[in-house]
């Protein structure tokens, strides 16, 4: 492992250990109550104690996040493709995409919950998370599909390329860096959406990590809430790492961003 990489992983790890140590010490030193700020050791104990229910909730949250992300990806690219075909369609529809984006998801949550029925809270959460994650992919893919080189477009004209050939062989590859950027943003937003939507629309029928945090808060089981919070952070980091890996792999041969240092 290179010096560079040791620093890259080692330094944040060192910070984590130092922070944990300080945290543990200050909780005991100042005798802070466990329902205000539990020590790391108490959080770990709570995590082990309710490991089963925490894992169930984690699975629910991961499932909602991944499905919402995939739906956002499909709808985002589909609409971007449509927009790239015609400026008129884009002008007609884009303001509504923006409207959907800027309307706070907590504000539409009750409506969605009414429409899908309170017994289907998980479906409502899924829809809301999809709405949150949709826009970055749409906006970035639309930009990318339009950013293919003009001379390459002329080359496709010269050989009488069909609309489909142009889309598959020119516009999609040219848009790939933008789509991957959109995916990295949307991956995180899908998780945020899943959590916020569960806060807003959750009920006994949707039991992800957000629900665990709510319940733990009501019961003053703050250590369990912290454990759930840690799991949420772990999910977010994993999503980001996986998408970064995908990006690096997909662009390694050609994009400037993936050029190895000289």
């Amino acid at each position: 492992m290179s010096r560079e990489r040791i620093w890259g992983y080692g330094l944040p790890a060192l910070v984590a250990v130092a922070t944990m140590g300080f945290w543990e010490w200050i909780v005991y030193a100042l005798d802070i109550k466990h329902f205000v700020l539990p020590a790391p050791s108490a959080i770990a104990a709570a995590a082990i104690e309710s490991w089963g229910s925490l894992m169930d909730a984690t699975w629910v949250t991961i499932r909602v996040t991944v499905i919402a992300f995939v739906l956002a990806l499909i709808f985002g690219i589909a609409f971007a493709t449509l927009f790239a075909q015609s400026r008129t369609i884009e002008r007609a529809l884009f303001p509504y995409a923006v409207t959907l984006q800027v309307t706070p998801v907590v504000a539409i949550a009750p409506l969605i919950l009414i429409w899908v029925g309170p017994d289907n809270a998980e479906r409502a959460v899924l829809i809301l998370a999809t709405i949150v994650a949709f826009f970055p992919i749409l906006a970035n893919a639309t930009l990318g599909l339009r950013s293919a080189d003009r001379q390459l477009h002329e080359l496709f004209d010269l050989y009488g390329a069909s609309r489909w050939q142009r889309l598959i062989r020119l516009q999609f590859p040219a848009a790939l860096p933008n789509i991957l950027t959109g995916m990295k943003i949307s991956g995180g937003l899908a998780l945020i959406g899943a959590v916020v939507a569960e806060f807003a629309a959750g009920s006994g029928t949707s039991t992800g990590l957000a629900w665990v945090i709510l319940q733990a808060g009501f019961n003053l089981k703050v250590a369990k809430a912290f454990a759930a919070l840690g799991l949420l952070a772990a999910i977010g980091i994993t999503i980001y790492a996986l998408l970064s890996l995908l990006e690096r792999h997909a662009l390694k041969h050609w994009h400037e961003s993936a050029r190895p240092p000289e």
Partner: protein, 246 residues
Amino acid sequence: MLLSFDNVTKTFPNGTLALDRVNLSIASGEFVSLVGPSGCGKSTALRLIAGLIEPSAGKVAWTHAKPSVGFVFQDAALMPWATVAKNVRLPLELTRKDDAEADRRVADTLELVGLTKFANAYPRELSGGMRMRVSIARALATDASVLLMDEPFAALDELTRDRLNDELRELWAVKNLTIVFVTHSVYESVYLSSRVIAMSQRPGRVIADIAMTEPKTRTRDFRMTTAYGERCRDVRSALQRELATP
């Protein structure tokens, strides 16, 4: 006669008059250079020949059916996400050639430009001169008999440019091509072509049409000859006369 411009005028949607009643004809096997100041409509003329744009008035007519035409753009215009071989293969795929045929032509054209060893390289791994060779191979992959080139070597360093000039002369002779070459360099146009057409500033018109079929084979010594110097002077003075008139 291969093709002719018959009173061709081109006005762009923004009102720019790029070409004004241009008449010219190009014979099969000619190496024609269009030379003139920036924005004189020489690229527009090239795109009219390629059929990428239509004239606003007048006619661009091919004497026989339009042959297979290759186009070489200013900055190579390669797909950065595809290997050299896949870039050269693109026109064959767009025109739906079968796989075996496409494989053969990719191999042939890469050999022609001396890039066989780089078939699996990506464009960013190549020098500017090599990228331009890929672009030429791509234009020739469909067995094009007409090669249209839009200031292809403008961004290259002088030594690379000289070498590519020689390679292009050789390709032209070996493959019996008709080449229309747009450049703003008087020297390049005289060195390369069998005929130089000088164009005025916008709106573009033909202001001089100078044939120079001899010598057939040109080496770097040709640049030292009196004939070369005189032709350069002729083209240059035609362009300067034009600049002097308000």
